[in-house]
Symmetry: C2
């Protein structure tokens, strides 16, 4: 699957028919190249940051708080800082020891809340077990909550006539992929697989805002395949390697695969490979468009983090 990365091309701006009739089994789906789309967005953000610097003399600032020494978390933080730097966004960071107290962490959050050069605050999850994540996340001012996790941002996302300060990065990235691939959402049926706070729930809210008719399928749904087959657009976010098979899809469906699961693979040096929640090979014979894993939704998450930070800075500096 890794060899597919970069080989496909998304059809920018074209209106794609999501539910064409007839057999699709004789052709593979268009690959939505998340890496290429994310790169383009990051370039656009870089240009806007440069413009902002010229206009107001300031750039957006993102603060990242890392607690403990988890290797994966350290890698994510490094990637985020690198992405900031490439886009001209200033990054602030604090690394606290594994045994930092909750009060320590909250104190750093509050410090960043008060710092006018910081427009977004990100607490890298998971936090060590002795710290209450909810309490820490809620200490982040909802006006700097670039992760979109604060209940006020979730609530205003759900409400008609309201606009959240921030939308959670991964679901925002999913919708951006659909938009930039020319997929019409209004009036279409969408199924979201999974109802997590971080992906499934906000993804459903976003699809509904685009006027799709949305069904959320979850672990207690007795017939997920049958319901998923009704959908023109499917966002899979369940965290189970290749659980979603080809026969779950209506021919011509558009498939966004949020899952990133490591499965054993003795043919690789690392001993594993990454796969999505969707069985890519099967699904790509049925779908009209599909995101690969890796190289699909993943790269969009960081791009949306930069986008959220830029938006916050624009609000702070009154830049259009």
């Amino acid at each position: 699957m890794a060899t597919m990365e970069g080989s496909g091309s998304a059809s920018y701006g074209k209106d794609v028919q999501t539910s064409t009739g007839g057999s699709q089994t004789d052709r593979a789906a268009v690959i939505i190249d998340g890496k290429a789309i994310a790169d383009q967005i990051r370039e656009e953000i870089g240009a806007e940051v440069a413009k902002m610097k010229e206009a107001v003399g300031n750039v957006p600032g993102l603060a990242v708080i890392l607690v403990g020494a988890r290797k994966d978390s350290a890698t994510y933080v490094r990637m985020k800082k690198k992405a900031c730097s490439e886009a001209g966004i200033q990054s602030f960071d604090v690394t606290l020891p594994e045994d930092a107290t909750q009060d320590d962490v909250v104190a750093h959050v509050k410090h960043f809340n008060d710092n006018p050069a910081v427009h977004g605050i990100l607490v890298q999850l998971p936090l060590p077990k002795h710290i209450n994540e909810e309490a820490v996340l809620e200490a982040v001012s909802y006006e700097k909550d670039v992760d979109g996790f604060h209940p006020i941002n979730v609530g205003t996302l759900a409400m008609q006539g309201r606009k959240p300060q921030f939308v959670s990065c991964t679901p925002k990235g999913c919708i951006e992929l659909l938009k930039r691939s020319g997929v019409q959402m209004s009036g279409k049926r969408a199924v979201v697989l999974g109802r997590s706070n971080i992906v499934g729930t906000p993804a459903a809210m976003l699809l509904q805002r685009e006027n799709a008719t949305v069904t959320v399928v979850h672990s207690r749904t007795p017939n997920p395949a049958e319901i998923t087959r009704e959908a023109d657009i499917v966002i899979a976010a369940i965290g189970k390697a290749e659980l979603v098979r080809g026969d779950w899809f209506k021919p011509g469906a558009v498939v966004i695969d949020v899952g990133i699961n490591a499965v054993e693979d003795s043919s690789r040096k690392t001993g594993y490979r990454l796969v999505g929640d969707v069985h890519f090979q099967e699904a790509s014979q049925v779908a009209s468009m599909i995101t690969p894993v890796p190289g699909g939704v993943g790269p969009m998450t960081i791009a949306m983090l930069l986008s959220n930070t830029l938006e916050a800075a624009k609000r702070a500096y009154g830049v259009a």
Copy 2:
């Protein structure tokens, strides 16, 4: 339809099969008697209030703010105060003139926020046009937001692992009707017709919390009848008189009709009668259970307002 009020009986505590096969056209649905269920809940609340008074010497308090002289609003406020009084809940009220300023209204809200004898605050809507409803509603402390309209309460309702302080009264009443009628929601397909902040959106969140698989159908859904026919449970909240016909339902579906619409009726002294969003006569031939209008969801809304006020007082006084 009014003659049906009180004639049906809900099947308390019985587990009802929502999707039985075969033809249902030869029998009418069980009527879910919202009036009787609401009366029972109000009695239960009255008993709890009496217990609270004995235990801590205090009773719950509900503050109602009415602005202007709308007849319907005045009637609603009077009904709410009467219901409070019957349940032993203390009510506080302020009536402001039509030309009250937004600052006036907000000042009264804040006054009630600070009053420890007030556990719930309700601003009767609609407010006069010169007042920003959103600003007034957001001035209500989310800990006294018995209407459940505050974004924090909407957000925590949407989020897994979180619990809102309050759930909006009408959708809470719908779920209570289903529960007290013995309707199993877990694993069932539910369709919510309408996506308003006050009913449709929170109703969908509540059904999902009960582990139903929920689809929200709205004005931009091209085939609402087809999708509604997939549902075991339907909550209709669109505000269009009898738009939802009998053939929208799967045989055996459970139908909760939130709509209250006045239609001309020259045979009545008033010149009109009230009907729901659902064509009752047709639907009751197909559904297994259905709420009438009036006498279905309507009476539950006030019962849930009392229930929310009681809950808030329990939290304030640390009563289980």
